[in-house]
Every structure is written in structure tokens, then in C-alpha cells.
């Protein structure tokens, strides 16, 4: 399956470490297409294989099977120095015996570029990451944020077709991380280079990416835009990993083309969105901010229950409601006029309530 705008294609890639009983399958048949110029994020918990996939694209590991195509060319077996791909490492891995400028020029020197071109590119990169004043500094005299910028400039200087970023912001404090998120987006926009970004931070993934691949246990569970991933999670793991969500178990009673009627254990019937015909026991998912709070005695509320907890978090309050389904359903509101023990009704709109693929 080749698409016109696919820059990198990952076809049935597996990666196993070790042999015999200690054999561990880090990637089990991964497929993905990364488009030219996009900010593509690999998101997942630690050990999900996202860094392994990145290292396979960089060339630090070779795939056990499958192909990695760049511009239609198989690159999966090439050593790192033969791939037009550069990496920003998690701990930056700046050369300690070189200055900032020497670090940035390293890749260009290895490509045997003419001196004048190297000098002008280094200057341009220093300006891009706003580090021109510190060009002559040794890297161990820099702060974490500054090292981050140098690592970025060093990887961008050879003008790679793809820039790989391995959790580059995880070592920074929160405020600096937010700043660098904006900076990264700006730099990606200015250079037009395709970014593949690895993170375990779902918020970071949602705010920065054009598309996200959610990974778990060596597989990609869903690829889509941040809003697709957030609003229409394809799997329970995706829904659970990204943001807060309510799960409701039930049985399908009527299945339509786009919707389905689901009966809950308590006998109530909900209408939910389904991307395909469903049957049997299913799980429904809805985000807390999509759950509407109503009066308990309103006619058309599908669920009602008692308020068991109120959790204030600044921009809003989470209202925990016991509707007799085991787990509480959480509704998020800016200023709910309810108190502990109140009976409330819950409005679950069909467009916000989705049936998960199991």
C-alpha cells in the first residue's frame, strides 16, 4: 500500500531481542505511513516499543523482519551514517569535548561539505535555535534547555529528510517543557522537515502532533489526528491512555448502520455511535467533559444517580456520580451547582458516546 505523500513507510516490521527462552518481541508486525512534512508522534507507555521503532528508523537496530522505506527506497538494512535521517537523543548526547558550534558542524564535516557552506549553515542553525551568543561555549557549561537547543540544531544542520526525536523534552522542567513544545512546533514549521516524535506524555502528543500513533505492547493500536484519537478512540487502551474517560459495559440490543442501542445491567438503554455493526457485550466510552449534568427528574435523562465526590482542579470540577453500575461516572463542569448526596441526571449524547472495538 503506497500512498503518494508517504515519505516513510513501515511495512510489517518486527523486532525481537535475545534468543531462545529470553527472546522478547519488542515490535510485532508494525505498519505505518508517515507523510512528508508532518509532525508524527509515537505515543505509548514505557516498554511499548516506540523507542525501538524510532531506533529502527535511525538505523541503530536492524529489523528482525519487514521493511522500512524512505522515498520508496528500502533503508532498513543501512547503517545509520548512510541514512538521511538524524536523531535528537533523550539525553542530548552532545560531544563533551567540542564547543556548541563544533557540535553543530560535526554532521556537515562528516558529509565533507565545503568549509564556507558549513560556516553559513552553522550560523543559520544557531540563529534558528536562538543560541548564536553561545557558539563558543563548551556544552557542559549549558543549561538543560540550552543543551536541548544545541542537540536540535546539531540534528537539523545536515538537513535530514526526517528528524527523529526520542523523548527530547522529558528531562526538562514543566515550564521549560511548555516553552520548548512551542519552539519545536515553530522550528518544524520553519524548516518544513518531517518530525517523528516519541513521547509517553499524552498531553504533549495532543498539543504538538499532526498525527499520532498510539502504541502498546509492540503494536500500533490507532493512527489518527489528535482529535480523532481523543474523540473516537478505536480501542479501550487508547481511550484509557489519553485523557480521562468513563467506560460503561452493556449488551447490544439493536445494531444499526452508524448507531447501536445498548442495554446496561440496570436495564437502561443508551444509544451510542458505532463505526461498524456490533453485537454481544460491548464497552461504551465517553469523556467526562461530554457528560451533561441535568435534574434527576427530567424526563429524557437516560441515567441518574447520587453525587459521591466533588474534585476541584482549578478550571473545573469533576462530579463523581454513582449510577449503580459499579464504577462511578465522572462528569466535568465549570461550576456545577450540586452538593454531595444530591440526585442528578446524566445526559450522554449519542455523538459523544462511542462503542469501542474490543
Amino acid at each position: 500500500m503506497s500512498s503518494d505523500d508517504g515519505l516513510i513507510e513501515i511495512v510489517n516490521v518486527t523486532k525481537a531481542f535475545g534468543t531462545g527462552e529470553r527472546r522478547f518481541l519488542a515490535l510485532g508486525g508494525v505498519n505505518a505511513t508517515i507523510r512528508k512534512g508532518e509532525f508524527f508522534t509515537l505515543l505509548g507507555p514505557s516498554g511499548c516499543g516506540k523507542t525501538t521503532l524510532l531506533r529502527l528508523i535511525a538505523g541503530f537496530e536492524l529489523p528482525t523482519s519487514g521493511e522500512i522505506l524512505l522515498d520508496g527506497q528500502e533503508i532498513g538494512h543501512l547503517p545509520p551514517y548512510r541514512r538521511p535521517v538524524n536523531t535528537v537523543f533523550q539525553n542530548y548526547a552532545l560531544f563533551p569535548h567540542m564547543t556548541v558550534a563544533e557540535n553543530i558542524s560535526f554532521g556537515l564535516e562528516m558529509l565533507n561539505k565545503p568549509k564556507a557552506e558549513i560556516a553559513s549553515t552553522v550560523e543559520r542553525m544557531l540563529a534558528l535555535v536562538k543560541m548564536s551568543e553561545l557558539a563558543g561555549r563548551r556544552t557542559d557549561q549549558l543549561s538543560g534547555g540550552q543543551q536541548q537547543r544545541v542537540a536540535l540544531a546539531r540534528a537539523l544542520a545536515p538537513q535530514p529528510k526526517v528528524l527523529l526525536l526520542d523523548e527530547p523534552l522529558s528531562a526538562l522542567d514543566l515550564k521549560l517543557r511548555k516553552e520548548m513544545q512551542v519552539e519545536l512546533k515553530r522550528i518544524q514549521h520553519e524548516t518544513g522537515i518531517t518530525f517523528i516524535f516519541v513521547t509517553h506524555d499524552q498531553e504533549e502528543a495532543l498539543t504538538m502532533s499532526d498525527r499520532i500513533a498510539v502504541m502498546a505492547k509492540g503494536n500500533i493500536l490507532q493512527i489518527g489526528s489528535p482529535s480523532e484519537i481523543y474523540n473516537a478512540p478505536a480501542a479501550r487502551f487508547v481511550a484509557d491512555f489519553i485523557g480521562d474517560i468513563n467506560f460503561i459495559e452493556g449488551q447490544v440490543v439493536v445494531a444499526g448502520e452508524k448507531t447501536a442501542q445498548i442495554r446496561l445491567p440496570g436495564g437502561q438503554v443508551l444509544t451510542a455511535r458505532a463505526s461498524r455493526p456490533v453485537e454481544g457485550p460491548v464497552t461504551l466510552a465517553i469523556r467526562p467533559e461530554k457528560v451533561g449534568l441535568r435534574h434527576a427528574d427530567d424526563d429524557d435523562v437516560p441515567l441518574s444517580g447520587t453525587v459521591t465526590n466533588l474534585v476541584y482542579f482549578g478550571s473545573g470540577t469533576n462530579v463523581h456520580v454513582d449510577v449503580g453500575l459499579g464504577a462511578d461516572i465522572v462528569a466535568r463542569a465549570t461550576a456545577p451547582k450540586v452538593a454531595l448526596g444530591d440526585r442528578v441526571g446524566l445526559d450522554l449524547h449519542v455523538t459523544d458516546l462511542s462503542v469501542l472495538a474490543e
Binding site: A58, G59, F60, P79, P80, Y81, V85, N86, T87, F89, N91, A93, L94, F95, P96, H97, M98, T99, E102, F106, G107, M110, L111, R138, R154, A155, P158
Partner: protein
């Protein structure tokens, strides 16, 4: 502890505080010297005292049957460079033979240093890239020769490279040569012996710095289009320079004063500094000259160390 002074004036309080601080400083000073005393004593007895004796001896005249006669003379130092005329003691002619011995020693020590570096660096790299559990075994194997006396190891070397030895038997058995190749009692034999006996001194410090090397730097260099050779030259070697310098110092200095290896494998035909000094205290019975030669050697080593330290120090701070 002290009684609370409720009506102390500020001036009195200051004075009390100053007295207390002085008292504490005095105690700290005394404790420091008490703690240092064993180390200072040891360095004084086994380091400075023999050195002072050597220095005094070098300015005396040799006794007829060894030992010294207690009269001041700079003769020992003059002898290093000049021959005294047999008939007129004021006529000095330049005699390069001792300078040649020094030059040859420095040359052999330098070659041995380069040799151990060429053999030792890949060895250390190999060990540093093994899994953590097996590294200790490799290091143990590297230090294993230390368990045997140097003299015995050198004799073993002698047995291997002599005309009837293992190497020649092998070469002749295979038919590469008809006559035994004369390896023993050449500079090459001394060179081999020095490399063999000093190799661990190179491997261990280089290993220590390679083990600390962040191998993500190697990955970063590969990622930035550096080939294997360029990764080694531009990243690995510069990052492990402290270990290389330490290893070179540890091989070069003892190599300069090596005694057993040149004596046995070089056949004592060509003197090195160590043999020359030993000779003065033994057969030649010229203790002042032996002392002077030892001090000249030491002065040279200190000077060279100073230069190396200055240069590597500068490289450290300027990247």
C-alpha cells in the same frame, strides 16, 4: 553549656564570639596535623629521606671500594657529560656515551609506549564493550601476569624468543626460514619484553576511561554520518584522552628506568639508564655518579610530566 549572659554588651558578645572561633580554628588545625601525621611520616621516611641521601651522595667523591668519601665535589655531574684528562685534571673533553644511553632509553621507552598503546587500546575497547558480567573476568586475565615475578616472566619470554625457542622452532618447522632468526639480544627483543611487561599499565587506565564513555555519543556520531574510523578518531579517542595520557605516563616512566628486561632480553650489551645506574652502585663502585644519574633521570621525568600536564590541561579547558 555556657551560662547564659543576659547583660552582655554587644562589644563583649563580639569578643566572646571571636574567642570561640579562634579556639575552634586552633582545634581544627591540631586535628588536621594529627590526622596527616602518619601519611607525612611515611612519605618522609620512604620518599624524601632516600631522595635527600641520593642528592647528598651525588655531590660527594667515590670511595675506592664503594661507598663515598665525605668531600664536596661536582665531579659526578661533570662525568655525565665530560671525560677528565688522565694527566691534567682540568682538561675536560666531551664524552657522549652517557647521553647516548639516555637517548637510547628514551627512544626505547617511547617505542614501548606507542607499542603498548597500539596493542592496549583495542584490548581495553574490547573489554569495555563486553557485557558487564564478563568484564571483570577479562580484567582479571589482564592482571594475571602480575601474579608472577617479573624476572620469571622475562625468563619465560627469553625461552620463547631464543634461537632454539618456540618462535624459531615454529618458523623453521613451517619452513619460513632455514636458520634461526636472531631475535634475542636485540633492541627488538627489549621492545617486545617492555610491551609484554607494561601492557596492563596501559590497558587499565584506558579501560577506566572507556568504561565511563557514554556510548550514546558513539551512536550520535554514527547518526551524524561518521563512519567507524571517524567515530573512533573524532569522538572515542578525544573522549578517552585522559586515560590515554595516564596510560602513557604509567608505561613511559617505568620503561625509562627498566632494568630486568634490557638486562636479560637485550643481553646487557647496550646499556639503558636503569642498567647504567645499577652498574655504578655495583661493579663500577661509583656511588656519587650513580646517584647523579638517578637524579638526572628524575629531573627529566619531572620536566616531561610537567610539559604533558600543562599541555593536556590546556586541551581540557579549551576543548
Amino acid at each position: 553549656m555556657s551560662v547564659r549572659q543576659e547583660i552582655a554588651t554587644p562589644a563583649e558578645a563580639d569578643a566572646a564570639l571571636r574567642a570561640a572561633i579562634r579556639q575552634r580554628e586552633r582545634e581544627a588545625f591540631r586535628n588536621r596535623w594529627l590526622l596527616l601525621a602518619p601519611a607525612v611520616g611515611l612519605i618522609g621516611c620512604v620518599g624524601l629521606l632516600p631522595l635527600a641521601l641520593t642528592m647528598i651522595y651525588s655531590f660527594l667523591e667515590p670511595g675506592t671500594y664503594g661507598g663515598v668519601t665525605w668531600s664536596f665535589s661536582t665531579g659526578a655531574y661533570e662525568q655525565f657529560l665530560f671525560d677528565r684528562d688522565l694527566f691534567d685534571e682540568t682538561i675536560l673533553t666531551f664524552n657522549p656515551s652517557y647521553v647516548i644511553i639516555f637517548a637510547r632509553s628514551i627512544f626505547l621507552a617511547l617505542v614501548a609506549t606507542v607499542g603498548t598503546l597500539i596493542v592496549g587500546y583495542p584490548t581495553a575497547y574490547f573489554i569495555a564493550t563486553r557485557p558487564r558480567e564478563s568484564r571483570n573476568l577479562w580484567l582479571f586475565l589482564i592482571t594475571l601476569p602480575f601474579w608472577t615475578n617479573l624476572l620469571i616472566r622475562t625468563y619465560a619470554m627469553l625461552l620463547i624468543i631464543r634461537d632454539e625457542g618456540l618462535v624459531n622452532a615454529l618458523l623453521m618447522g613451517v619452513g619460513v626460514v632455514n636458520q634461526p632468526v636472531g631475535i634475542l639480544y636485540t633492541d627488538f627483543a627489549v621492545f617486545l619484553g617492555l610491551i609484554y611487561s607494561f601492557l596492563p599499565f596501559m590497558v587499565l587506565p584506558v579501560y577506566a576511561s572507556l568504561e565511563k564513555l557514554d556510548f550514546r555519543l558513539v551512536e550520535a556520531a554514527y547518526d551524524l554520518y561518521a563512519t567507524r574510523w571517524r567515530v573512533l578518531r573524532r569522538v572515542v579517542i578525544p573522549a578517552t584522552r585522559p586515560g590515554i595520557i595516564a596510560g602513557c605516563i604509567l608505561v613511559f616512566i617505568p620503561g625509562l628506568g627498566a632494568y630486568i628486561t634490557p638486562e636479560l632480553l637485550g643481553g646487557g650489551k647496550k646499556l639503558m639508564i636503569g642498567n647504567m645506574i645499577a652498574l655504578q652502585f655495583g661493579t663500577a663502585r661509583n656511588w656519587p655518579f650513580g646517584s647523579a644519574a638517578a637524579l638526572i633521570l628524575m629531573a627529566m621525568v619531572v620536566l616531561m610530566l610537567f610539559v604533558v600536564m600543562r599541555r593536556s590541561g590546556r586541551q581540557m579547558s579549551h576543548g
